[in-house]
Amino acid sequence: MEPGGLKNVDTVEIPAVPVFSWSVGNFMEKFFDGLKDGKLMGIKCPKCGRVYLPPRMICERCFTENEEWVELPLEGTVESFTIAHVKVGDDGELEDLETPETIGMVKHKGADTCIVARIEGLDPADAGVGMRVTVVIDKSAENILDVLSHYVPC
């Protein structure tokens, strides 16, 4: 079947950009407060002991309200990684990066969930699953999301 019997559709564009402001809630608030003190705060399910980092209000496995805060070590293990040769540009397409960067999925000892962040200070070719890395916290970062800045190899 040939779509579009009428040829030559025209395109419409508009300048609108709706904005949002997502409140993070008290559990993520405590996580960010911890980061600003140089600490990684996770939360533990009182029932199954699963530790969420970043923290979640509810343990999805037990449907229990998490309550016990635990400070996790700054070192973690790379569970998976990718070398990014592109990024999503403003137009939503993949645009080439000048210098490839390493993005890792890191699990901290004692945590059951992962954090995704850049791994810096290594040749991307040297990145590997199982590698030990340390989180770099930038307390002076203006954007709260940049306080957990990146990881470096231990």
Binding site: D10, T11, E13, V17, F20, E29, K30, D90, D91
Partner: protein, 154 residues
């Protein structure tokens, strides 16, 4: 744990400005607008159910594609209405009469669709559903939708 009533907000947006919506309407509208320039209102008739769409619409609720151009009258009836000031409306009763604009929904004779226009030459208190109106053509139509912006009592 201590609960704050206001937690961090993360700002974000939706890049609607990066959308490129497609429409067949432009091509159809070209013919419609050319008609307006000649003080003709053209409609597009559905071969399936016979509905006449003004302005033209590339698809019909009966799943056929309207394709036959027909001329409809420049007279018709008011089907609904509201009043508006330019930007801040103070209410029908309180509004400055000279600033009150009467926005009417109209159905032209021979068309099956609703259009919106501004009614002139009528007292706001006299507007009613079913009232006969006709398009007040500009002396020199430009071939734009605003050529049929104004209607007056027929």
């Amino acid at each position: 744990m201590e609960m704050k009533s206001e937690t961090t907000s993360i700002p974000g947006n939706w890049r609607l400005d990066q959308f490129r919506w497609k429409t067949e309407q432009v091509k159809l509208m070209g013919k419609f607008l050319a008609g307006l320039k000649e003080k003709q209102v053209l409609g597009l008739k559905c071969p399936g159910c016979g509905l006449v769409y003004v302005p033209p619409k590339p698809f019909c609720r009966c799943l056929e594609r309207p394709e036959k151009w027909v001329e409809v009258s420049d007279e018709g009836v008011v089907t609904t209405f509201t009043f508006s000031g330019t930007w801040a409306f103070r209410g029908f009763e309180e509004a400055d009469e000279s600033e009150t604009r009467i926005i009417v929904g109209i159905k032209l004779d021979g068309a099956d669709t609703l259009g919106l226009s501004l009614l002139q030459g009528s007292d706001p208190a006299d507007v009613d559903v079913g009232m006969r109106i006709k398009i007040r053509w500009p002396d020199a139509p430009e071939g734009a939708l605003k050529d049929i912006l104004f209607v007056e009592p027929a």
